[in-house]
């Protein structure tokens, strides 16, 4: 190959003598290096993605896990009819209206007898949650015979005390920089010494509705609202989407109209979700007069939003059923309906369900359209049905994230953890369904 210049590449190729030549070796090394680089780019991208996700999870868990614990203070409470202002334990009205807060205050005074002065007393009362009275009322309502008796009870501490115990408020900071006074810290330390203050599992977080007080706020209302909303969405969107997909895939003639419909469905999936919210506000609430903030309306709006997703997924599932199965069914003399119901649908169902679950997960995490239809309202009660005002988990997170109290920060993260938990659960369900029922042919 000394006079390589005189030989053209084509001649070289034709002669076959280029195999193993130095040029070839060089080119080979270059190509292998390029190959390695190409793989490295992909690996770097994956690593970055994974680290972002890990960071996000770490941040949320680190901030939120403490919210599952709540500081409680043990008090000796006396169901004193005088303090409560109840004469007859059989009078339910009186029971519910009674002055339980006074009872808590009395118990506090009993624990710290040497506190005097209005200001000091108010600070003392402030160490116990303002919701402690509700705990007592519930106990009393459940068992009116308690009237006149005395018992030791663990009552939730105020959120600031909670923060103090969890270390979010530093004791060595200057008094003016923290929300807990030196006096309060002294009481807490006294309680700590007598073992009358402790952190226990925060059941309130899962059983209560929203509240202005962080220690009383829970996600029960939001999850129930989410449940009703998703239920409405599922009931409406799944049959509609499957029917639409079957029609488009199996029956619709291929002409300009179906093309337009197809393009629009695909575009609809890309429409910003807030637009659906505006639509829901205009149509369902203003035109049809459905109740504001109701899961029904939320479900309707989310149905509009998820329909295209599920239709597209269902069509893909239908399309993936091999034509040979259809031919086999038709060739056996099955009618088109029989072909679809006996063979195509069972084979496409795992794909459709997967698409539906993904759509539902998307709906579960949706916030913007629900803001438009009033599901952002502050609702304390757990909704009892799809027509009652409610909020949903992501909106709850949004609301809490806006609250100034330090204790809401950890509750926001905890709620995010719950939401993520549901999402992971739903996606896992989709994967399991697909694995379990997917058939090979």
């Amino acid at each position: 190959m000394t006079d390589g210049k005189l030989i053209t590449g084509a001649e070289l190729a034709a002669s076959g003598s280029w195999h193993g030549s130095p040029q070839t070796q060089r080119r080979l090394r270059k190509r292998q290096a390029a190959e390695k680089r190409f793989r490295a780019y992909g690996l770097v991208a994956i690593l970055m993605g994974v680290s972002f996700v890990a960071l996000l999870f770490f941040d949320i868990v680190a901030k939120g896990w403490t919210a599952f614990m709540q500081t409680h203070i043990q008090l000796e409470v006396t169901y004193d009819p005088e303090v409560l202002g109840i004469a007859d334990s059989g009078d339910t009205q009186a029971l519910s209206r009674a002055n339980y807060t006074g009872m808590v205050k009395a118990a506090m005074r009993k624990t710290f007898p040497n506190v005097s002065g209005r200001r000091a007393k108010r600070a003392l009362y402030g160490t116990v949650s303002s919701g402690a009275g509700f705990v007592l009322r519930e106990r009393m309502m459940a068992n009116p015979d308690l009237l006149g008796s005395t018992e030791k009870l663990w009552l939730p501490a105020d959120d600031d005390i909670d923060m103090l115990l969890k270390g979010h408020i530093r004791r060595d900071a200057p008094e003016s920089d923290r929300r807990v006074s030196d006096q309060q810290i002294a009481w807490v330390e006294q309680l700590e010494q007598s073992g009358q203050i402790r952190k226990q599992f925060n059941t309130t977080f899962f059983t209560a509705g929203d509240s202005r007080e962080p220690e009383l706020a829970g996600i029960r209302g939001a999850t129930t609202g989410s449940f009703y909303t998703l239920l409405v969405t599922l009931i409406l969107s799944f049959p509609l989407a499957v029917a639409a997909a079957i029609y488009l895939e199996e029956f619709a003639p291929k002409n300009r109209w179906t093309d337009i419909i197809e393009v629009n469905i695909n575009n609809l999936a890309a429409v910003p979700s807030i637009v659906f919210g505006l639509l829901g506000l205009a149509v369902f609430i203003n035109f049809f007069g459905l109740p504001r903030s109701a899961p029904l309306v939320g479900g309707l709006v989310l149905t509009l939003m998820t329909l295209p997703t599920i239709i597209i997924a269902s069509r893909a599932a239908l399309k993936s059923v091999p034509p040979s199965i259809r031919e086999a069914a038709l060739g056996m003399g099955a009618s088109k309906t029989q072909m679809i119901t006996h063979h195509v649908l069972p084979l496409a169902m795992p794909g459709m369900l997967t698409g539906t679950i993904i759509g539902m997960a998307q709906a579960l995490g949706e916030t913007a359209p629900l803001l438009m239809i009033g599901m952002v309202a502050f609702i304390v009660d757990v909704p009892g049905g799809p027509l009652e005002p409610a909020t949903v988990l992501p909106v709850q997170i949004f609301l809490w994230a806006d609250s100034p109290e330090r204790a809401f920060v950890e509750r926001t993260s905890a709620a995010i953890m719950v939401l993520l938990g549901f999402l992971i659960l739903m996606n896992a369900l989709a994967v399991v369904l697909r694995r379990r029922f997917e058939r090979r042919w």
């Binding site: 031919e327 038709l330 060739g331 056996m332 003399g333 063979h343 058939r439 090979r440």
Partner: protein, 303 residues
């Protein structure tokens, strides 16, 4: 479509007049053209398209896919208890033709069929005729073995069930067993009827498909390259099966393998670019074809 033609063919195409034999109605015999012997171009079908005891008859069948004409003026009889093989190069319209015979072409968008096709003298494209009934009488076996992803039992029982042929589990058992026996599969699968049909080997799957087709006792079985995905042993078993089935059924088979056509069929039809070029006894077609196109194809000179 047609790149060459004899002068007289061009003329008949230009004027749009059909060649004389195209007007042949059912019952008359087409005559052999001497001109066709010396001509590479197609002018009219060579050979006798009729049989004494026709089960299916097609006359002047044209099939269009949109603007494209897939088969042109095909007239052919399929006799009782005979195996008719359709051969020809790819895209010659042979598959299209047999798919007309049970109206499987209906399922293809933009497909149009003209001409008459009869099954026992009854027009199968009659709008009053239910295509479901037709397909129960004219069964089909496809190129790729396509058992339903269900159990072997359910695969065979499917046809009888949807056509209401069975009312009890016992009747179904009987039909399933008989069909599998006829398809020569019973001894191999009788212990695992509940396992999936897709778990069988390729040849077994295809025999399962045949069992499924004969479970509804059709008059005619159409086979579209039934062995093209099978190994030689499985192919031989299917061929043996076809020969056995001939006693009770009329079979039309499309095949790419000329040897297979020669082995299994009594009559052979050669298609070329949508024309039915030649029909005849299989012996004659493979030893002494009359048309140059047939000759060139079967001797491996093109196609």
């Amino acid at each position: 479509m047609i790149t060459q033609a004899s002068p007289q063919t061009e003329e008949s195409m230009d004027t749009g007049k059909p060649a004389p034999s195209r007007t042949a109605s059912i019952g008359t015999r087409s005559r052999v053209s001497n001109k066709a012997l010396d001509d590479r171009g197609f002018s009219e079908t060579v050979g006798d398209i009729t049989v004494d005891q026709p089960r299916m008859q097609t006359r002047d069948v044209n099939v269009y896919y949109g603007d494209k004409q897939a088969i042109k003026d095909v007239s052919l009889d399929i006799g009782r208890n005979e195996v008719v093989a359709m051969i020809g190069p790819s895209g010659c319209g042979k598959s299209t033709f047999i798919r007309c015979l049970n109206r499987m072409n209906d399922t293809i968008e933009g497909c149009r069929v003209t001409g008459t096709i009869t099954l026992d003298k009854q027009d199968i494209y009659d709008p009053t005729l239910d295509v479901v009934q037709l397909r129960a009488r004219v069964g089909m076996v496809f190129q790729k073995p396509n058992p339903f992803p269900k159990s072997i039992y359910d695969n065979v029982a499917y046809g009888p069930r949807i056509h209401g042929l069975v009312s009890s589990r016992m009747e179904t058992d009987e039909i399933v067993q008989r069909s599998l026996e006829r398809a020569g599969l019973w001894s191999e699968v009788k212990d695992r009827l509940t396992s999936s049909g897709t778990g069988l080997s390729g040849g077994q799957q295809q025999r399962l498909c045949i069992a499924r087709a004969i479970a509804v006792s059709p008059d005619v079985i159409l086979m579209d390259e039934p062995c093209s995905a099978l190994d030689p042993i499985a192919t031989a078993r299917i061929e043996e099966l076809i020969d056995e089935l001939r006693e009770n059924y009329t079979i039309a088979i499309v095949t790419h393998s000329m040897q297979q056509a020669a082995r299994v069929s009594q009559r052979t039809a050669y298609f070329h670019l949508g024309d039915l070029v030649e029909v005849g006894e299989t012996n004659q077609i493979f030893t002494n074809p009359r048309h140059r196109l047939t000759e060139d194809y079967i001797t491996g000179r093109f196609g």
